[in-house]
Structure formats: C-alpha cells, structure tokens
C-alpha cells in the first residue's frame, strides 16, 4: 500500500514538473511550480524528513512562489509580454543530449551504490546529548555544522544586500497600491496573530521536534508580506537604519556568539558547556527575526523601480 502511494506521488511529481516546464503560458508554469512545491513537501514526508517538508512548503513553494508571481505580475503590468521565440533545433538537441546523459549517468551511479564506510547518523546520535538540543537536525544545523549555517545566513544577507545596492536611493515610495479590501483587513486581524503564534511555536519546538529558525523565519516573512500586500506599509524609508540592522542582526548575533567563545579561548563556534541549548535558542530567535525581515525585503526590494541606468561610468560610456 505504501509503495503504491509512493509511485502515485512520483507520477504526480513528474506530470506537474513536465507541465510546469513545457506549458505555453508562463503564468501556468509558475502556478504548476508552486503546486510542485506542495507535492514535494508530501514527498519529504514520505522520505521521513518532516523538517524539510515544512521548509519546502513555506520557503520552496511559499516564498519562491510569491516572488515568481510578483515578478510575473510586474512583467505583465509594465511591458507587453513579447511572444517567446521558439528555441532553435540545435538548442533542443543539446538540451536533450545533456539531460539524457545526466539521467543515464545518475541511474548507473545510483544502482551501484557501495556500502558507505562511515555512518554519520550514528555519530550524530552519540553526540546528541552534549549538543544542547534533542532534535538531531537542529543539533547538526546549529552545533555540529554551525559554520555551514553561518555562511548560509551570509548568503541570504548578501542576496538582500545586492538587491539593496541595485535599488536607487531616491526611489519613489512603493508604487504597488495595497488592496483596500475591508474583508481582507478583518481577516488579517484574525490571521496575523495566529501566524505569529505558529512562528513562535515552530521556533520553540525546534529544540526537540521538527521546526526551527528557518521555518519560523519563513512563516514570519509570510505574515509580513501579507501585511505588505494588504497595504499597511512597513515603509522601510522612515527607519532606514533600523531595517538594515534587522537584516543583519541574525548574522551579527550568530557571529558575535561564535567570536565570544573564541575570545574565551575555546575553538571557534564552540558553545560553553551547559549553556549550549540556551545560546542556540538565542541565535535561533535572532535568526528567525532576521530571516523574516530578509525574505520580506527580498520581496519589497524587487518592487521599487531600479536605479536609473548608471550615468556614464568613470572609465567608459
């Protein structure tokens, strides 16, 4: 019975992926991509990875979907969608060749899997008690491989930084009018507190159950974006510095904690024994807020009209 569900899911996945790739209208492609995200979170449940299912649903399908839809909306609103030139035969041939060789190689590789020499999950289980959290994934993310997470937050901050640099300083305030819909505002007064509550719950649950900073942060971002779309402007213009501080806070706190232990003589990113759990929670709190703000500003930054084409640069026209 289970296997049947897996095959069904697989078929659904394939069908949705192919339609999202090959459909004529770009809007349909984006909608099916979001559908694919939801299907994927089901697949992650089947793969016994609830954390990833949550993350995929909120970040993969949610945030990416909103960004794509928003970009599509802007493309359709401001410019006529030029009919797409049909790609040339050579491109088709090359694409087919590349993808078929890739699939063939991967299948050949997957079928001859050797017995892995090291069982990392065993080592994680053994080291879990000293990691300060009970949930293995949060332990790996914020303790064993915390350096990866630090760099990953850096990537997020960098993405929003590039967006900000391309945004012209004197951009007119947000051009997208909010939806002045009374029912929406009423529902929001109900929904937003629930979303904030679930975000807090996810953050807190991260210690011993699937959850954690990323999913909570993405939930927070969803709430902020809802507010943004409904017209209540969190206009970053007024509190330029506060907004930027918010973006960088998560990364800054994480780095500060890591450096403080370094100054205390212990290797980089080691939590003083006993206080690992509390420190991880502090970092996760800061990360959640920051990720919420970052994902929001990734959304808003794309809105404001871009910097006017650069005046003749110093060295060339």
């Amino acid at each position: 019975m289970n296997e049947m569900i897996d095959w069904l899911l697989l078929l659904g996945l394939g069908a949705v992926a192919i339609t999202s790739l090959m459909s004529q209208s770009i809007f349909r492609a984006v909608v099916f991509f979001i559908l694919l995200g939801l299907l994927l979170s089901l697949v992650w449940i089947r793969l016994d990875a609830p954390d990833i299912a949550l993350a995929e649903a909120v970040i993969g399908a949610g945030i990416t979907g909103i960004l794509l839809l928003d970009t599509l909306g802007q493309l359709k609103k401001t410019g006529k969608l030029t009919t797409e030139p049909s790609p040339s035969r050579a491109r088709l041939g090359l694409a087919l060749l590349a993808s078929l060789t890739l699939v063939g190689l991967l299948i050949w590789a997957v079928l001859h899997q050797p017995q892995p020499a090291i069982a990392l999950h065993q080592q994680v289980a053994d080291a879990l008690p000293e990691s300060g959290v009970d949930h293995p994934i949060t332990a790996v993310l914020l303790n064993f491989r915390s350096y990866d997470t630090l760099l990953e937050i850096g990537v997020l901050v960098l993405a929003v930084l590039v967006g900000l640099t391309l945004q012209s300083k004197d951009a007119p305030p947000d051009s997208l009018p909010g939806l002045p819909n009374p029912l929406l505002h009423a529902c929001l007064t109900l929904l937003i507190p629930a979303m904030l509550l679930t975000a807090a719950y996810l953050l807190w649950a991260g210690a011993d159950r699937p959850g954690g900073a990323f999913q909570a942060g993405a939930m927070l971002a969803a709430a902020f974006i809802l507010l943004h779309l409904s017209g209540t402007r969190l206009s970053p213009r007024r509190s330029e510095f506060l907004m930027k501080a918010g973006l960088v806070m998560g990364f800054g706190v994480f780095l500060a904690v890591a450096v403080s232990t370094l100054i205390g003589g212990r290797p980089f990113l080691t939590y003083p024994d006993g206080s690992a759990g509390m420190l991880i929670l502090l970092i996760e709190l800061a990360l959640t807020l920051s990720i919420g703000l970052i994902l929001l500003s990734l959304f808003t930054v794309a809105h404001t009209p871009a910097q006017l084409p650069g005046k003749r640069r110093q060295d060339e026209q």
Binding site: P114, A117, Q123, L151, L158, L161, T165, L255
Partner: protein
Amino acid sequence: MSLMQSPMPWLLVIPLAGATLTMLLPDRWRSAASALGILSQLVAALLLSYQVIQSGPQIYAMGNWQAPLGIALRADGLAMLFILMSALVSSLCALYAQSYLKAEKRANFWPLFWFLWASLNGIWLAADTFNLYVGLELLTLAAVGLVAFAADERSLEASIRYLYAALLGSMGYLLGVALLYGAHGTLALDSLAEHWHWGPTSQVAVTLIVGGLLLKTAVFPLHTWLPPAHGGALTPVSALLSALVIKASFYMLLRFWIELDIYRHLPSLSQLLGILGAGAIFWGGWMALRQQHLKWVVAYSTVAQIGYMLLMFPLLTAGQSDASQLAYQGGILMLLAHALAKAGMFLAAGNLMICTGKPDLQALAGMSRYRPLTIFAFGLAGVSLMGLPPSGGFSAKWLLLQSSLLSGQWWWVVVLVLGSLLSAAYIFRVFAYTYRETGEEGDRFARPALSMELTALTLSVASILLGFAAMLPLQLISLPGPLMEALP
C-alpha cells in the same frame, strides 16, 4: 595567549565582521573600517603562514567536533599561498577602488568586497565538500553583485549570464557531493580520501564535480560567460574577478584531483583537460587578437591563461614523480604569476581608459609619450603574461616545459610554444597602438590618481619579481600536507 593560538578562524571572522560593519556604518566611516579590516587581515595571514611554516599543516575543528561529524578547517602550504595571494591582490584592489569609485558607489562596494574576501578565505581553508559548496555560492553571489554593481545595461546582462552559468556549475558540484555522500557516508575530504572506493558512483560523482567546476572556472568550451562579465565590470571588480574568483573553483578542482587520486584512476580525463586547456589557449588568444575594446582583450587573455593552468593536469602522471612535482609547481606558479599580472594589467588598463576616456584601442595613440608610468605597468604585466623572462610567467612556463619533456608528452611543448607566441601577438598589438604617433601636439589625456597608478605598478612589478623570487612560493607549497602525500 589563547586568543591567537591559531589565527585561522580570524581569517574568516574579520571579513565577515567587516561585511556586517560596512553595511551598518554610515557611508563615510566605511572606508576607514575597511582599511582597519584589511590591515588586521594581512597580520592574521602572515601569522598563520608563519605558524604553518614552523609547525606544518594545521587542522582546526570548528565547534570542537572532529572531522567527519563537524567541519574542519585545514591550512597546508598551498592554502597559505592562496591566502597570502588573495590578501595582497584584494588589499591593492581595495586601495585602487578607494580612489576609482565615486562617493556613493564606494559605500556600496565595501560590503560586497568583504563578503567576496570572506568566501575566498573560506574556500582556501575548507576541508569539507558541502562547506566548499556554500563557500562557492557565497563567492558567486558576491561576484555577481559586484559585476551588477556597475548598474548599466552591459554589466547587467553580463551579471545575469554569469549568475546562470555559475548556478548551473555549483548545482552540478552539489550533485557530485550528494553522490559522494551516498557512496561514502562522509563529507570531510580527509575521510573521503581515506575510505576512497573507486566504484561507478564515485566515477559519476567525480565527473559531475569536475564538470561543474570547469564551468565555474570558465574553461574553454564553457567560457562564454567570462568575457562580458570581466570585460564589462568596473576595473577593480574585473581585477578581483580575473585574479581570484575563477581561481577558487580551480583550487577546488586541484584539491579533488590530487587528494582523491583521480589522475591515477582516470588518465583519459586528464588528457581531455589538457586538450581543453590547449583549446582555451588558442581560442582565447585568437579572440583577444580580434577585440577592439581594451578590457575585452584582457578578459579573453584570462580565458587563454586558464588554458595554461589546465596543462598541469595531463602532466600529473602517476608514473614519474619528478615530472609531476615539476608540473604541480609549474601550475601553481603560473596561477600565482597570472593572478598578479592579470590584476596589474586590468588596473593599468583601467588607468589607460581613464586617460583616453574611450575604451577602444585606437584612442591609445601617442599614450607612451605622455603616460610612460601607466604604459610601463601595462607592459610589465604583459611581459609576465607572455611568459617572457625575467617574469614569474616565464619561470612557470619553464617548469611546465621541463615537466612535459621529462614525462615524454612533447605535444604540450608545442602548445606552450605556440600559446606564448599568440599571447605575445595580442599584447604587442595593444603596445603598437600606444607607440603610434598621431601628430596631435599637446597632452590631451586625463591623469588618473597617483594611488591608482602605483597600485597597478606594484602588482605588475610583483609579477616580474616573482620570476626572481620563485623559490619562496615553491618552498611554501612543497611543505608537507595532505596534498603533498597524495602527489605521486
């Protein structure tokens, strides 16, 4: 004093802290903060290299968790050379950018610059495959941000093309890492090398990793994204990109290639890399000959010079150990000489374009009469790129020549010889323009700031002096370490 018992994490903390600070500080304090950051970075790099020379390679377990579970940083001779190289080139490019960029542009430049430097140091020191992936992504986004930073149409198109190519490359790399993890159960390079099992899974994983990294190093058939990106970006950015950013994926390729004994198992792949290298030399040189835009000539010369570095791979034959040592030393010296010379040449080219105000070559007529210093910097860098003595490029070419003769693969000698003639052709072509006398009297050229001219000159002179002081880097990279044990 415990704080400094190992400066390795500081090499990462300083740039990351610099990035956050320069994002928050008001514009006018950012340059001062960055200057302080650069100084402390240089001190930390020198301290670590002193420790590595004294007491051999250092392993630093992050968060006190040992390798397979946690992430370890590793500083052997090769990593130290790359750290010192990026410290030198980045600080000089920062100095150049200080006077090159206008006020508000400069404010935005610093955070991106620091993220770039942090990711570079992260890659040089990394010993964990997934950690390399995240470092590579950080590097790509920073580099794309810097290219798009010029915010005009040409650099925007270049940054999109660069981002798409880079994303595909790093996704191919991640796929390889996924297969390796499935097959060996570990992410750390050392334990991978220890339990290395050469089955079909590992072969496919290796091909994917090599393919992804070749795309990110802009090797010949996959190089189309590089010329617009390096040619279109602002001068200090294209110097950083050409000198350091493409070297990061090449460094990773080298690490995998030697530490996982790929040259022993796949000699055919190494010959393929050699052929790609030869193709890059000839194609890059030929395209450089036909460019009218000065920076595009230098960008295509990067494509050609990568070809030289790739010649190292076929020469790392399992049989002769002295030929492989020579190839290894020659390749790394070529990489170092190229980094210095290419950064110097890009900065000098930027100065030339400021003087003439126009990017095309015809405008250079009569330059050597009024701006000898700038032409001299461009010339010295050109000498090193051409591989004419007494430059670093020449010593590297010499080592590669010796290695190919010793290992009996004489055809690489022909490639090296024709390649250096081709590079001489396109560099002297630019020179010929500067000597042309157009008869207009009077000095109608603008004058770039002295600091900009001096930084370009320092880098070019450094690449020439490398020819004389080649022993220092060569001793540094031959220090004992995981890489040296894996060499035949």
